[in-house]
Every structure is written in structure tokens, then in C-alpha cells.
């Protein structure tokens, strides 16, 4: 509350600058400064790490203009993209079937539930054995990551459709097909969105680890190779790149979700 006596600042900054979040900025700078300092004084494990400056230098020297680096990005992104899309294509209808057909659910849901608890990474060895190419085995892992999440969310979404939404449509004379197309499907879109948001995060987690284990390309592989070759700057560059890539992906997914649900923008 603006009237709160505790919020009276010690130094009154000009109003233009007051908008910048000084406290946050200071703590970020302090974080980097502490890291730098810890490396320099070789404080325990920090002795093995590069300083922020070293990392940045390495990046600008060997990576930013290096086509191999950017193709790692592309390769990882492709794996995420394919796995994610296939998961939506197969997962959405399956979720709808589970939600709307009791017979279908009784038949197939137990099998689904049997497989769901297996973490995606646990699928890696069998995926390598099963699929002919390395690439397809990795895409399968990202698919698994997103698939179960989307199915469960849609199944849940169908179950949470408000009775009143359906009842009103029935009172107004809508046929079953009309109700499915115009009421049920749109009702379920928010659940699809949730499934997508969760799914994209899981696919990134999964692709990095899968690459470390089973591939010779991609951002995960690059990070791993940095470790193996004792160049920790590469490890850090890899981590930061992966973080950025994941963040970018979720921005894209958010954008898609907003387009899917124009009615949630408050006017």
C-alpha cells in the first residue's frame, strides 16, 4: 500500500529512474561479482570453474561465429519440435477419447497408466535398441516426455467441463454433434494449453540428457563434451545456451497459446 510508512525511501531518485528495479539489478550484479571473486580466490569447488569473464571471452572468441555451435542449436530444437508436435497430434485425440468414451477408457486406460509412470529418460536404452536411427530414438524420447502430459491434461479437462455449459446448450436445443464441436472442444483448449506448457519444459529436460547419453550432436552433447575435454567454459556456455533455448521455446508456446485462446485477454 502506498501509504505504508516502511516504503518511504532513504534517497529519493528522480521519477524517471525510479521505474528501474534497483534492488533486483544490484543482486544480479552481486551474483556475478561473487562468482568471479570465488573463482579468483579458489574457494573450494570454484577453483575448477571459469570466471564469468572467461566464459564470456570464450563465447565471443570460439562460439558466436562458429557455425557448428549454431547447428547444435538447430539440431536440439528440431528434436524438441518433432517430438512435441507428434505428441500433440497423437495425444490430443487420445485424451479426448479417454474423456468422452467410457468404453474406450475402460479398455485402454489401464495400459496407458501402466506406461505413464516410467520416466522419459528410462526409455532411452530401449529406444536405442528399438529405433533404427539415433535421431529417431531421441525424438521418441522427447515424444514420450510430452505425450503423457498432454493426454492426462486433456482427459482431466474433459472431466472438468462445467455441467452448466452443456446443460444450457441442451436447453437451447443443440444436437450432440453441435455440443461436441461448439462446447466440448473449445472447453478443452485451456487444458491443451496447460499440457503444451508442461510438455515443452519436459521435452527440453529430456532432450539434453538424451543427447548426453546417446548422440554426437546438439547442445546437450556439446555441454557433455566440454566436461569430457576439461574445458569448463564450454560446459557453462552449454548450460546458458540450453537455458536460453528452453526459455525461447516457452515464449513460442506462450504465443501460440494466446492465439489459441483470444478470449482470455482481458480487455
Amino acid at each position: 500500500m502506498s501509504g505504508n510508512p516502511d516504503s518511504t525511501p532513504l534517497v529519493r531518485l528522480p521519477s524517471r529512474l525510479r521505474g528501474i528495479r534497483w534492488r533486483g539489478a544490484v543482486s544480479v550484479i552481486a551474483f556475478f561479482a561473487l562468482w568471479h571473486f570465488a573463482v579468483i580466490v579458489e574457494f573450494s569447488g570454484f577453483a575448477e570453474l571459469p570466471t564469468p569473464i572467461q566464459t564470456l571471452t570464450a563465447f565471443f572468441a570460439d562460439y558466436i561465429a562458429n557455425p557448428d555451435y549454431w547447428s547444435s542449436w538447430v539440431v536440439s530444437f528440431e528434436r524438441v519440435f518433432y517430438g512435441f508436435i507428434i505428441a500433440q497430434i497423437l495425444g490430443i485425440p487420445l485424451g479426448l477419447l479417454f474423456g468422452t468414451s467410457p468404453k474406450f477408457r475402460d479398455l485402454f486406460f489401464p495400459v496407458f497408466e501402466l506406461l505413464r509412470p516410467i520416466p522419459p529418460l528410462a526409455w532411452v536404452p530401449i529406444s536405442i535398441l528399438f529405433w533404427p536411427t539415433n535421431e529417431s530414438s531421441i525424438v521418441f524420447i522427447t515424444f514420450v516426455g510430452a505425450f503423457f502430459v498432454i493426454v492426462i491434461n486433456i482427459y482431466d479437462g474433459v472431466g472438468s467441463i462445467k455441467n452448466e455449459h452443456i446443460w444450457l446448450a441442451r436447453s437451447l436445443g443443440a444436437s450432440r454433434m453441435s455440443i461436441f464441436r461448439r462446447i466440448m472442444l473449445p472447453s478443452v483448449i485451456p487444458s491443451i494449453a496447460v499440457g503444451m506448457t508442461l510438455g515443452i519444459a519436459i521435452t527440453w529436460n529430456v532432450v539434453i540428457a538424451a543427447e548426453m547419453i546417446a548422440s554426437d550432436s546438439g547442445l546437450g552433447r556439446m555441454t557433455w563434451e566440454g566436461y569430457v575435454s576439461s574445458t569448463p567454459e564450454v560446459v557453462l556456455i552449454g548450460m546458458i545456451s540450453i537455458g536460453l533455448a528452453g526459455y525461447l521455446s516457452s515464449l513460442i508456446v506462450d504465443w501460440v497459446e494466446r492465439r489459441m485462446m483470444p478470449w482470455t485477454e482481458t480487455g
Binding site: M1, S2, G3, N4, P5, T8, G267
Partner: protein, 288 residues
């Protein structure tokens, strides 16, 4: 100087305590530069021991005024004096205190404490007396006010909401506050439970004669309980109308059907309704 050392048994008529003076109070919020004037030049004199009810459309600032009096919020202009001492100041340096305790709309009893433990909470927190002495005082107050000593060791969850409200009021009262502030305390109750609570509240008022500042939306309730009904305007909130409720006490069921009650209600209804319409239309315009 704290008034809490005196006994709850001393009524305000003896001590003349609890005179509230609201002088040209204003409250402006400044969220991101857009001035929101919640209160504008509110002035009100409340003599010691008077029961005042405040009504008005939603968003008119009545809760803001109560919060300023209670010390949960600060004012941006004017002043509030309690017994000629400043109660709320511009820099908001005065904190909430036991001399003006608040009872809110939603039950705020501590569910993990018994009724007695709840009632004596304030006394123990202020470290005025030993636990034993506090418990004795608590039991005494409970017994004297509707024989509530029989539920002293029950937990709030075991009580009806009406009972819980009564306990809350006693929890406030035991601190011997100068004024009792009630913010729509019976709002969530059905009409009949409310009527029962009115009787209980008026019994307490007759017994202890504290100054009471009572916010409500229910006009029947306001006129039935109070000596004065104040109607506030919609935002920016100021005093629109002050009605002198010259109905005899004790108030009974027949009071509600008297000519005078009807007259007062008519005046109140038309004032509130006028403000409500303005607020409503403005609210919808703001949304478009």
C-alpha cells in the same frame, strides 16, 4: 497513555472516554501515478459512548475510513482525534492498538485455540497480567455476557457462526478499548441469525456502552442498532447524510414497525440508492 489498565467494568459514561473526532480526512492512493481519491474531506463528530452506523455503496471508502481509525492505513490529509489525542497521522506512524479493536466480516478467531484462549489473547500478548489472572478475567466476561462461560473450552470450529462472532466481540472487548470498530461483522449471516446477533450486540452495548463504529450494507440493521446513521457518497467518499436515529432504547421488534423507523429508512434508502446508481454507472463506464 494506555487505557488498558482500567477494568472493563467501568463504563464509558463514567470515564467519558471514546470521543472520536474525524476532521477533514482525505485519503488518496497513488497507484502508478493515477490519483485515486478514496476519501475526500470527511468530517464527523462521534460523542463518547455513541453507536454510529456507516452505510454507503460498495467502494465508497467506509472500510478505508475504518482502517485509518484502526491504524491499518494512513490518511493523506486531515486528522482523526480520539479523546483529543491524534489517532491517525500523515506519516502513519501510529500503529493499530488495543484501544481500538476491530471485528471483521470473516471469522478471525484462532482455530487452534479454545474460546477462552482466544478471548484472553490480547491480554497475554500485552503482558499485563499472569495467565491465571487473564483466564479469570476471561471467564468472568464470558459468564457475564450471555452465560458464555459454558463454551469457554470449546474450539471455534465447534461453534455456530453466531457464537463465533460473539466470542470475537468479547475478545475485542476484554481489552477495554475506547472504541469498537466493526466492519460488516454480520454480513455472511442469514437474516434470522443476524437478528439474534443484533440482540446480543445491543445487550453488550447496553452493558458496556463503548463507542461503536459499525459498517454495514443492511439499512434495517443500521437504523435498528445505531444512534446515528451516516450515509457516504460513492468515490470520492465523503459524508452525504447524517441521520439522527431518535428511536427509544431498548430497541425491540416493534421499533422496526414504528412510523419513525419507516421515515428514517425512507431517507436512508433514497440517499444510498442514489449513490449506488452513480457508482454502478461509473463502474460500467470504466469497464467499457
Amino acid at each position: 497513555m494506555s487505557n488498558t489498565a482500567t477494568d472493563i467494568n467501568q463504563t464509558t459514561e463514567q470515564t467519558g472516554v471514546g470521543h472520536l473526532s474525524v476532521q477533514h480526512v482525505g485519503k488518496v492512493y497513488d497507484p502508478g501515478g493515477a490519483n485515486v481519491v478514496a476519501l475526500d474531506d470527511c468530517s464527523l463528530e462521534i460523542p463518547a459512548g455513541e453507536f454510529i452506523a456507516v452505510v454507503g455503496p460498495s467502494g465508497c471508502g467506509k472500510s478505508t475510513l475504518l482502517n485509518i481509525m484502526a491504524g491499518f492505513d494512513s490518511l493523506t490529509s486531515g486528522s482523526v482525534l480520539l479523546d483529543d489525542e491524534p489517532l491517525a497521522t500523515l506519516n502513519g506512524s501510529l500503529q493499530p492498538g488495543p484501544d481500538r479493536v476491530v471485528v471483521f466480516q470473516n471469522g478471525a478467531l484462532f482455530p487452534w485455540k479454545t474460546v477462552l484462549q482466544n478471548v484472553v489473547y490480547g491480554l497475554l500478548v500485552q503482558k499485563q497480567m499472569s495467565e491465571q489472572a487473564a483466564n479469570e478475567k476471561g471467564m468472568d466476561l464470558l459468564a457475564r455476557t450471555g452465560n458464555l462461560d459454558r463454551i469457554a473450552h470449546s474450539y471455534p470450529g465447534q461453534l455456530s457462526s453466531g457464537m463465533q462472532r460473539r466470542v470475537e466481540i468479547l475478545r475485542a472487548l476484554i481489552n477495554n478499548p475506547k472504541i469498537l470498530l466493526l466492519d460488516e461483522p454480520f454480513r455472511a449471516m442469514d437474516t434470522v441469525s443476524k437478528t439474534t446477533m443484533h440482540r446480543h450486540l445491543l445487550d453488550i452495548y447496553d452493558q458496556y456502552h463503548k463507542t461503536v463504529f459499525f459498517i454495514t450494507h443492511d439499512l434495517d440493521e443500521a437504523i435498528f442498532l445505531a444512534d446515528t446513521v451516516v450515509v457516504m457518497t460513492t468515490r470520492p467518499g465523503t459524508i452525504k447524510l447524517r441521520l439522527d436515529v431518535d428511536l427509544p432504547r431498548p430497541r425491540t421488534r416493534e421499533t422496526v414497525l414504528s412510523e419513525r423507523f419507516l421515515e428514517l429508512k425512507q431517507q436512508a434508502v433514497s440517499a444510498v440508492h442514489e449513490e449506488a446508481k452513480k457508482a454502478f454507472e461509473r463502474g460500467e463506464r470504466e469497464l467499457a
